[in-house]
């Protein structure tokens, strides 16, 4: 078991930051931990810089929400009927569709209701319906929710998935119905496909859930999937909407959204992630940042790890000292210079922390544990690098290889500089 120290520095204006005890020892048998994370895309550095943005630094996948109504959305009214897999309180055909659409609309509203982001209700086009049974194509630029699918991707046990299409270059006309991409990592098409029939899964609208305790809450599932739709990967924060488990049958991810609090189902971890993805320059509340590096106390422990000068990778979690709640978290282990590619120096940045005179945080650091496989840390980590093995004729100066994840360490504190 090796030992590591954590060096912190503070940017922003957190006034009473308290760094306290770190997590204790975990054996290699302990499972991995995750917190909110994003999917990333590395621009194609074989193209001119005007097309790749001039950097091999991984860019988070997200929508271009600069245009009013720029994110189109629709859903397919093709539903399983024998048996019905989506239960509604109103048993009429029109009533069922209305209840489902209401759940979808509320689910979108959860994500556009977070204060301090530019993802707002007007970012989205009005939701429309299509009667087409096969409507969730990646190549049409139409963002569709399909609730009765039998795509060839489905195998036994797969109930639903979200398919995200992104561009790795600027000016890419990847799909129709979507303008040319304006940045690397821009999402150009996103579809949610559901196939409950083969697995005997029942969903219920919020209105019907109480009377159908054997059913899974449709709104909770769609809200979670929309998190992926907007660029999230999974969170390890138990209370987060992006926590990777659906509620048990008959339950929902409480509380329900309301007009006053449309983002009520989300956790602060979800909200912080959304503020990082879609930052609002006018937000003066969530402006705190904690950054630093996770370094080995014994630098010799990194000998033999080519290009690795810090711990890769670990999870850094900020917890509100007053409430004990997780406020935000980040994956530590890498950073980028202007041109990239990423360097694996143990860096972390937790952004969009609430700033206030009574605000203070504890920082926890936890290792990713598991086999010596970088894909074990999180799906996002495997997409940080491109090189000659992943892409023919990739320029050497922009190449990198995601190192193995360091899992066998104990964390302790070094006071901030």
């Amino acid at each position: 078991m090796d030992r590591f120290r954590i060096a912190q520095s503070y940017t922003g204006k957190l006034t009473r930051l308290i760094i306290s005890a770190l997590l204790a020892v975990y054996s290699t048998a302990a499972p991995a931990a995750q917190a909110y994370s994003f999917a990333y895309t590395v621009g194609d550095m074989r193209l001119p810089s005007v097309q790749n943005g001039g950097t091999a630094c991984p860019q988070p996948d997200r929508w271009n929400n600069s245009l009013i109504g720029g994110i189109n959305r629709r859903w397919s009214t093709s539903l399983a009927t024998s048996p019905s897999t989506i239960l509604s309180l109103d048993q009429t055909a029109a009533g069922q569709l209305n209840e489902i659409e209401s759940a979808i609309t509320e689910s979108f509203g959860v994500w556009t209701g977070v204060p301090g982001t530019t993802l707002i209700p007007t970012s989205l086009a009005a939701i429309s319906r299509t009667s087409a049974a096969v409507a969730c194509s990646s190549s049409d630029g139409l963002n569709t929710i399909c609730l009765n699918q039998n795509d060839a991707a489905f195998t036994t046990g797969v109930i639903s998935f979200t398919r995200i299409t992104t561009a790795d270059s600027i000016g890419e006309l990847a799909v129709p119905n979507h303008p040319a991409s304006t940045f690397v990592g821009e999402i150009v098409d996103a579809d949610i496909l559901v196939n409950p029939t083969a697995n005997g899964v029942l969903f219920a609208t919020p209105a019907a859930l109480a009377a159908n305790p054997q059913a899974t809450d449709l709104e909770s599932v769609i809200t979670h999937e929309l998190g992926h739709f907007f660029g999230f990967m999974h969170s390890g924060v138990w209370s987060a909407m992006m926590f990777p488990f659906v509620p048990p049958p008959g339950a929902f991810h409480a509380p329900r959204p309301t007009i006053q609090n449309p983002d009520a189902p989300l956790s602060d971890d979800d909200r912080a992630g959304l503020r990082v993805l879609y930052p609002d320059a006018s937000d003066t509340t969530h402006v705190g940042t904690i950054s630093g590096r996770i370094l080995p106390a014994n630098p010799l422990s990194l000998v033999g790890l080519v290009g690795v000068t810090g711990i890769f990778a670990a999870q850094v979690v900020a917890i509100d000292n007053t409430t004990g709640a997780v406020v935000a978290s980040a994956q530590a282990g890498w950073s980028c210079g202007t041109a990239g590619p990423p360097v694996f120096n143990g860096s972390y940045v937790i952004q969009k922390l609430p700033l206030g005179t009574s605000q203070s945080y504890q920082i926890y650091v936890e290792p990713f544990t598991g086999p010596e496989d970088s894909s074990d840390a999180a799906g996002a980590l495997t997409r940080l690098c491109r090189n000659g093995f992943t892409d023919a004729n990739w320029p050497a100066q922009f190449s990198c290889t995601v190192p193995s994840v360091t899992t066998n360490f104990t964390a302790r504190i070094r006071p901030a500089n």
Binding site: D151, V158, D168, I319
Partner: protein
Amino acid sequence: MSNRKLFTLTITVLLVLVVALESGATMLVRMDLNALARSAEIIARVRCIHTNTRWESGTVWTFDDFDVLEVFKGSASQLLRVRLPGGRVEHTDVRIEGVPEFASGEETILFVERTSAGDYGITSWAQGTFRVRRQPSGDALLTQDTSHIAVFDPRTRQFTTTGARNLPLSEFREQLAEALVSTDGASPRR
């Protein structure tokens, strides 16, 4: 209780639950080893030799070619091709979490079934994928892709996880043999 029995019991408990869960952006029905064995047409230890990605039917697919090293169930030719959704074609990247990705040379045990397109897919994606990691001693340990679903709760300071992790290949063979016998009476092929 011996360590071996305790280990086997632990793995059994981890595999026995059948509930809904999500992996990546994907919702899977949690399947125990019996359910995976029952659903799979082929169960084999394979080594990835080639991957190919292309557009088909409105989306991007990755076709992975595997050299078959050992067959536990079904009939497989030396070359096994598996269809998986997603991948990158030119400047378009289609991403679906929970879909396993394979590197050339990587050794894996796969649970494989027919897709509606008539070719093969991996049963329950990440759940039907067990990565093989060779120890310096030559022993092999298996880790199921769904073992990544594990979290830390700062309130209780507890971790939870699912899926097999660092399971010795010999243990897996025994468990799979029992699963195959209990599901359809088939015996494993070596």
